[in-house]
């Protein structure tokens, strides 16, 4: 196996690195989905002419989201080192990457959620109100179901970005395919390792895109 096309590849390492990448992506996608929807809902509901209209809260969340969305991810990791150390107690391994991944992706996704919610017909929300629905019912039975295709296509885009972020996080020690490609592929000049890592990342991205598109089209009854 080690001869031929891929002389430097240790498939055991590859599998391990793939698992680490999938682990980091999976956990951060789930956390981003929940956190992003929460932030997006607050952004939407506190905006003008909405149920919880509140300029102060809207301004603060909006500013927070904009700032964290604008910081380049590699800088964000560095900025968050003290925070990460405080909660994960290490800078090495997959878990060390999670805070930066989530804090980098959730604000981005929150904006996508807010855009999706704003696309809901105001009349439908009004109809629910006119039936005597409480705000919780409107959130669970109108806002989330009616914006679900946008929420799913948004999380697909975000998940793909997160795969890229995990690779970057790998470079500074977080493990995964990025880490393998950097340490083994680049630093030891094993181009075949870099190539295999790239192909696996591409496959992951294609699968995510396919699942996202499929679910979105199933959900969209418009």
């Amino acid at each position: 196996m080690n001869e031929g096309l891929f002389p430097n590849i240790d498939w055991q390492d590859i599998i391990e690195a793939t698992n680490e990448t999938l682990y980091m992506t999976g956990i951060s996608v789930v956390a981003t989905f929940v956190l992003g929807i929460l932030l997006g809902l607050v952004l939407f509901l506190t905006s003008k002419d909405n149920v919880w209209e509140n300029r102060t809260i809207n301004f603060i969340i909006s500013a927070f989201v904009n700032i964290f969305r604008s910081i380049p991810f590699i800088i964000l990791i560095v900025l968050l080192i003290p925070f990460t150390k405080a909660i994960v107690h290490t800078m090495i391994g997959e878990n060390a990457a999670l805070p930066a991944l989530i804090i980098g992706a959730a604000p981005f996704y929150a904006r996508l959620v807010e855009i999706g919610l704003r696309e809901i017909d105001k009349g439908v929300i009004e109809a629910a109100k006119s039936m005597g629905a409480r705000t919780g019912t409107i959130i669970w039975k109108v806002l989330l179901p009616e914006s679900m295709p946008a929420l799913v296509s948004g999380i697909t885009v975000t998940a793909i970005a997160l795969v890229g972020y995990t690779a970057m996080a790998g470079v500074i020690g977080a493990g995964g395919l990025g880490n393998l490609a950097y340490l083994d592929g680049y630093q030891r000049n094993h181009n075949d390792v870099t190539l295999v890592a790239t192909i696996i990342i591409l496959i992951i991205v294609f699968i995510l895109q396919f699942i996202g598109d499929f679910v979105t089209s199933k959900l969209d009854k418009r």
Binding site: D121, G123, V124, E126, A127, A128, K129, S130, M131, G132, A133, R134, T137, K141, V142, P145, E146, M148, L219, K221, R222
Partner: protein, 341 residues
């Protein structure tokens, strides 16, 4: 059932104050179909939205089905809203839900258990004539069918009042008629009070018992539909009444037409209420030595009688014509001779 006293609504948008509703006093009876007509921007939507608390009046009080809508808030208001349903111009259905699930939504809000909900939804689907479409999504329905879903959804919790904001304005004339018939049917069967707003006199004529005419936030005229049709007091009301009573041609065209009859006279007959049922034309031909031609006409049915205009041409000896005119006047029919000079 509905009482508005001294209701005003002022919107403040970017430093500017817009008086959308201006000192409206109104009382609507139980079981009545009440129409509000007015041009765009007259304040109709604002008025009807104050009836279910989607808008709060700046001044005055709104009482609907014994709920003081303008005062109550929170749980009380939500409870009251289950008795005051609304249907909309653009239907406002949830596209992510099937017809069945859309109609089920207000029942979920009211906390009805699942098995009871399903039975009730089936009943409602039959009531509005959508048998077999329960599993369709709104995007698979026509406009008229969507509004039927809207109506079924609105009736789900046995409301006392149904508010209709331009409910037929997005529909073609045939579909409009079928939806209006459904509303009349519901009104008769369930004794529901209906308030509807529109800019089409046709809708008022077809189903309303009483009508209010709105202009710049005020109610400028109010009365039983037939009375308003018979004696429109305001200029704006006359314009609306003309939408449905005047034949396609204008008066000028009729005068022009009269010139084609150098002999005899062209007469405009205005029918109001029961008199339309009298065989007036037959009597004219039978009892007078005259030739009678029908030139043009339009008779409209309202919920409490007919209203219409008929142009006829009569020819014969002058004193015979005079006698005929006297006879027509005795029949409670408005007569006007159109000059053909």
């Amino acid at each position: 059932m509905i009482t508005l006293s001294k209701v005003s609504k002022i919107f403040r948008a970017s430093g500017e104050a817009i008086q959308a509703v201006d000192d409206v006093n109104l009382s609507i009876n139980q079981g009545e179909i009440f129409g509000v007509i007015g041009y765009s921007g007259a304040g109709k939507s604002t008025l009807i939205r104050m009836l279910n608390g989607l808008e709060t009046p700046t001044e005055g009080s709104v009482v609907v089905a014994e709920h003081n809508i303008s005062k109550i808030k929170g749980a009380m208001l939500r409870k009251a809203r289950q008795e005051i349903s609304m249907i909309f111009q653009h239907f406002n259905l949830l596209w992510s839900r099937t017809v069945h699930e859309n109609i089920s939504f207000p029942l979920e809000i009211a906390g009805m258990p699942k098995n009871e909900r399903d039975a009730r939804v089936k009943e409602l689907i039959n009531l509005v004539g959508l048998e077999g479409r329960g599993n369709a999504y709104p995007s698979q329905l026509s406009g008229g069918q969507k509004q039927r879903v809207g109506i079924a959804r609105a009736l789900a919790n046995d409301p006392k009042v149904l508010l209709c904001d331009e409910a037929t304005s997005a529909l073609d004339p045939q579909t409009t008629d079928s939806i209006l018939e459904l509303l009349v049917d519901i009104n008769k069967r369930l004794g529901l009070t209906i308030v509807l707003i529109t800019h089409e006199m046709h809708v008022i004529r077809k189903i309303c018992h009483r009508v209010a005419v709105m202009e710049s936030g005020r109610i400028v005229e109010l009365g039983p539909v037939l009375d308003v049709f018979r004696n429109p007091a305001q200029q704006i009301t006359k314009r609306f009444v003309r939408q449905v009573t005047e034949p396609e041609a204008t008066k000028e065209a009729i005068v022009h037409l009269a010139e084609r009859y150098p002999e005899g006279k062209v007469i405009q007959l205005t029918f109001v209420g029961e008199s339309t049922e009298n065989p007036l034309i037959a009597n004219l031909i039978r009892n007078f030595d005259l030739d009678v031609n029908i030139v043009q006409g339009k008779i409209s049915q309202t919920q409490n009688g007919s209203y219409g205009t008929l142009y006829i041409h009569i020819d014969g000896k002058n004193d015979e014509i005079t006698r005929a005119l006297e006879y027509i006047e005795k029949q409670q029919v408005g007569v006007e001779v159109i000059d053909n000079e």
